[in-house]
């Protein structure tokens, strides 16, 4: 028996990161800003996108890629609010989207008519944190029905996100959720994390959310 060792030293995410670079370059060539929406299941990603598409979908020329383990329910819900294509990726069991899926999805999207691309990731606070999809930034949604210690329990996600949105604030009178403590916990993990707070149900905070999006999207070419 001749046993030998092969030195490898290859990062597990290297290939995905290379594909994410291609996604980023392609979006940049078309002047498209992309946000990767991440959260635990049920934090309100789809509802926030519904409200966003209905209010500023045309103004900001928003396209969407949704990821779900099974069904294209989210894409169907969003399609009601936009005439633009909502590209559904069914991961078939995988707990996250990867850069190859996004690169492939871009083929179906009219990037010349898109200024803002939302990638609605699979609901999961663990795996999506590790996968660069070529986005400008990850936006982590964090709902008031979750514990204030979520950032401490899932640090990688809050470390890798640039923005955090506290959702379902209309439920604050009914749940023992300390907003200041939640934000302080998140800032222990990522001091630069910028917060927005909103309720997609009542509309509270949506104006600030839309203004944030307007500020993130380059002006349309005249």
């Amino acid at each position: 028996m001749a046993v030998r060792t092969i030195d490898v030293r290859e990062r597990v995410m290297a290939r995905n990161d290379e594909l994410a670079t291609r996604v980023r370059a392609r979006l940049a060539a078309h002047g498209v800003t992309a946000f990767n929406l991440v959260s635990s299941p049920g934090a309100g990603k789809t509802m926030l996108l519904e409200r966003t598409l209905a209010a500023v979908g045309d103004e900001l020329a928003i396209s969407v890629v949704t990821g779900d383990v099974q069904t294209q329910n989210d894409a169907d819900r969003l399609a009601v609010h936009t005439s633009r294509l909502v590209q559904a990726v069914v991961t078939g069991g995988a707990c996250h989207l990867d850069a190859l899926q996004i690169l492939t999805s871009l083929d179906a999207i009219d990037l010349d008519r898109t200024r803002l691309l939302f990638i609605e990731n699979v609901g999961n606070l663990v795996c999506p944190a590790n996968w660069d999809l070529g986005e400008l930034a990850k936006i982590v949604l964090f709902t008031v029905t979750e514990g204030e210690d979520k950032p401490l329990k899932y640090p990688k996600m809050f470390q890798n996100a640039r923005y955090a949105v506290i959702t379902k604030t209309d439920l604050l009178p009914y749940v023992p959720f300390d907003v200041e403590l939640a934000i302080a916990n998140a800032h222990r993990i990522n001091p630069d994390l910028q917060f927005l707070q909103l309720s997609a149900t009542t509309g509270a905070g949506l104006t600030e959310w839309f203004d944030f999006l307007r500020g993130a999207v380059p002006a349309p070419v005249a």
Binding site: A2, R4, I6, D7, V8, E10, R11
Partner: protein, 78 residues
């Protein structure tokens, strides 16, 4: 699966028998080592790996990489 792809790439066309895949997993890598080990056990039980085993090496930081493979060329030692 990415770990399996990396291993397959490195084994090349000669396809020696893989005995061990060593993976460094950082404490901040966002990966639960026991879950990874469980997954790799399932993947490495199937062709073309034919029963290789994973060796998870805990490290500080956020490293996540395949560091080395141990292969058996199937021929006697010199």
């Amino acid at each position: 699966m990415e770990i399996a792809r990396i291993a397959e790439d490195k084994l090349g066309e000669d396809s020696p028998m893989l005995a061990v895949v060593a993976v460094e997993v950082g404490d901040d890598a966002g990966v639960e080592p026991s879950s990874l080990e469980f997954c790799l056990e399932a993947v490495l039980a199937t062709p073309p790996f034919r029963g290789a085993r994973a060796e998870i090496l805990r490290r500080p930081g956020n490293v996540l990489q395949v560091v080395w493979l141990e292969v058996d060329d199937g021929c006697p030692d010199d």
